[in-house]
């Protein structure tokens, strides 16, 4: 038999045949390793766990149209390609307009949005009733609901007042029968001349009014009242040319030219676009504690129908990622999209990072304390083992064991305990982490294969360090004690 086999035989015999004492040492290492492995697993998993948790605090990224560009559902979904689907919790588009409630002579900000996304990006929204699930349904902010006294089930008549040229038509497109046009041009001395005209059924000019109050009263200023000048325009189709279609008023050539110019540039004004009015059913009252309480929310579909546009103002994104990752995504979006830019909601992203930092620091500290406690516990147990085995150690020394042999034997026992405790700790630690994760974070974690060797190495190290003092004691034992017939 080799010395090594005898060494192992002695160590295993010591551990196996002295079960109760060694069980305590094993338990102290094992429990320490369990908690350590569990904490490390949680520590590693915390960012992911908390990332999901943090998403309940709302959006952490905004997508906005770039200067001069327009945001719509088309380029929004293109921009979202830059963010991996598994980290994109939700993306809620918003279009804000002012809507009037004519029956109450009130107007409020209305937001067109996608309610299925709001649930994800703004989980803190508290709705009494339900989110709208169909068109012609609205979610009303608490503040508005209180002011105008609507409840779940009430109906609301909402009207959209188009602003001038809201439809964005060109002068040519505007010249349709019955259209009401308005335009302006620079007249004499830089003063602006305003014209409004209503077209007849042939798109000829039916009536014309001119505002020339900026012009010299005795010259151009006479035009609004000069019937013979104005009458030349009636029945004529735009565009017109001064000197060919109409003649200038003598002494007011510049102002006459401005009138023609303004007419040629005139576009369809508000008078011709009918305000749209729709009836909505209130399905829910929204409480958030924030400004959302003064908004009315309706579906994007209704919003498009009312405003004749699929334009969006902003999209709120909830992304489960660190600040650095968010910045990388924002950069990618800005680079890839011609019309969409991305911005972090710094308040949310930063506070997440700081909470995460504190939490990981806490787990780290607790890990350190447990490490220390484990060492003390193992050390104490090994100390007890040494004093319990004083005579055996004395005997071994009397039989010729060198200090090195005594060290090797105790260290061997310690490392063996560390090995067993480490395996136990890795397995139980994962179970522990899983239980914590499920109960605290409500999600399960995946087993880190590296945990097993790491736990074994760490607990063997702990065992070895814990054995240093006991070994020192053991080596100091006087072999002569076995002779004294104690």
């Amino acid at each position: 038999m080799t010395k090594r086999r005898m060494f192992l035989r002695m160590i295993t015999a010591s551990l196996l045949r002295r079960r109760s004492r060694m069980l305590i040492a094993l338990l102290s290492i094992g429990i320490g390793a369990t908690i350590l492995a569990g904490l490390v697993t949680i520590y590693v998993d915390v960012p992911r766990q908390m990332g999901a948790q943090f998403r309940s605090y709302g959006a952490n990224m905004l997508l906005l149209p770039k200067d001069g560009a327009e945001l719509n559902s088309q380029n929004l979904s293109e921009a979202l390609q830059a963010i991996p689907a598994d980290v994109l919790v939700g993306a809620a588009p918003y279009r804000y307009v002012r809507l009037d409630m004519t029956t109450r002579q009130q107007s409020f900000t209305a937001a067109g949005t996608d309610f299925s996304q709001i649930v994800k990006t703004s989980p803190y929204f508290s709705v009494e009733g339900a989110y709208p699930s169909e068109t012609r349904q609205v979610l009303v902010g608490k503040e508005i609901a209180d002011t105008i006294g609507v409840k779940v089930g009430s109906t609301m008549e909402l009207t959209w007042q188009p602003t001038n040229n809201a439809a964005g038509k060109t002068p040519e497109e505007s010249r349709v029968p019955g259209a009401s046009l308005s335009g302006k041009a620079e007249g004499f001395g830089g003063g602006v001349v305003y014209v409004t005209a209503v077209l007849d059924e042939n798109a000829g000019i039916a009536s014309l009014t001119v505002d020339a109050s900026t012009q010299t009263p005795e010259y151009g200023g006479r035009i609004p009242d000069d019937e013979s000048f104005l009458n030349q325009f009636i029945g004529k189709s735009l565009p017109l040319s001064l000197g060919e279609d109409v003649d200038a008023l003598s002494g007011a050539t510049v102002t006459s030219s401005a009138v023609v110019d303004a007419l040629n540039k005139a576009t369809e004004g508000s008078a011709s676009v009918q305000p749209k009015t729709l009836n909505f059913t209130v399905t829910g009252i929204l409480t958030t504690g924030g400004e959302e309480e003064s908004y009315v929310f309706l579906s994007l579909k209704d919003m498009e129908m009312m405003t004749d546009s699929d334009q969006l103002d902003v999209a709120e994104l909830s992304v489960s990622a660190s600040v650095d990752q968010l910045e990388a995504y924002a950069g990618a979006i800005a680079e890839n999209s011609a019309s969409v830019s991305a911005r972090l909601v710094k308040r949310v992203a930063r506070s997440e990072a700081s909470v995460l930092e504190k939490l990981t620091a806490l787990v780290f500290l607790v890990t350190l304390v447990v490490l220390l406690l484990t060492m003390i516990c193992v050390s104490t147990t090994m100390m007890a083992v040494v004093s319990e085995r004083r005579r055996e150690i004395g005997l071994r020394k009397a039989l010729g064991a060198s200090d090195g042999s005594i060290r090797a034997e105790f260290l061997g026992e310690g490392l063996f305990l560390g090995l067993l405790g480490g395996v136990m700790g890795a397995v139980l630690g994962f179970v522990f982490a899983q239980v914590v994760s499920v109960n605290v974070f409500g999600s399960s974690i995946t087993f880190q294969p590296l945990l097993l060797p790491a736990a074994v190495i760490v607990s063997m190290l702990i065992a070895a360090v814990s054995c240093l003092l006991p070994i020192k004691r053991a080596v100091a034992i006087d072999p002569a004690l076995v002779l004294k017939g104690e």
């Binding site: 010395k3 002695m10 020394k397 009397a398 039989l399 006087d478 002569a480 076995v482």
Partner: protein, 224 residues
Amino acid sequence: MSLLEIKNVSKIYGELKALDNVSIHVDKGEWVAIMGPSGSGKSTMMNIIGCMDKPTSGEVLLDGVDISKESSKHLTDIRRDKIGLIFQQFHMVNYLTAVENVMVSQYYHSMPDEKEALEALERVGLRERARHLPSQLSGGEQQRVCVARALINHPELILADEPTGNLDEANENIVLALFAQLHREGTTLIVVTHDPEVAEAAQRTIVLEHGKVAREVINENFGK
């Protein structure tokens, strides 16, 4: 030819002179008993001969080497190589079997050899008890295991400290018979005892009193 030569050895603990200018010698192959009442310096003598303590003054030559000047590390080496120890309290490793206990001695000395260890147990009549733990053995059996352990490395000297102090008469006789057998084979034996019967089994008895050699008695009846 002397194996052990103690010359003018004193051991002083503070005010107490445990050994006071003692000189003794033991020849190779001799069987010597050291007797004396408590406090006579027996234990101190035993510790010094067993390389577990050093004298305050004087020379201790074991097999020609002066062990009174050696470092404790060297003393361990010398003890391991030259001395087999037998104790009053047996002192077995309680979680190792009889044969494993014998092998521990081999382990520290050179190479564990189970076959040889079993042969040693055979010699002390415990071949069948080889796989028993100390708790499963009687006191006499344990002491016989210790004899097997002491002789396993073929030491120059077997040093026994009250080897029969915890044994009944039957077991005492067995152990003494084993000693006689070892003596016949040429092993040097030093037995520290206060039991006259054990002392009478030896060739010569050195009596210590108050740290000095009081007298030496040659056993006329030895071998009869």
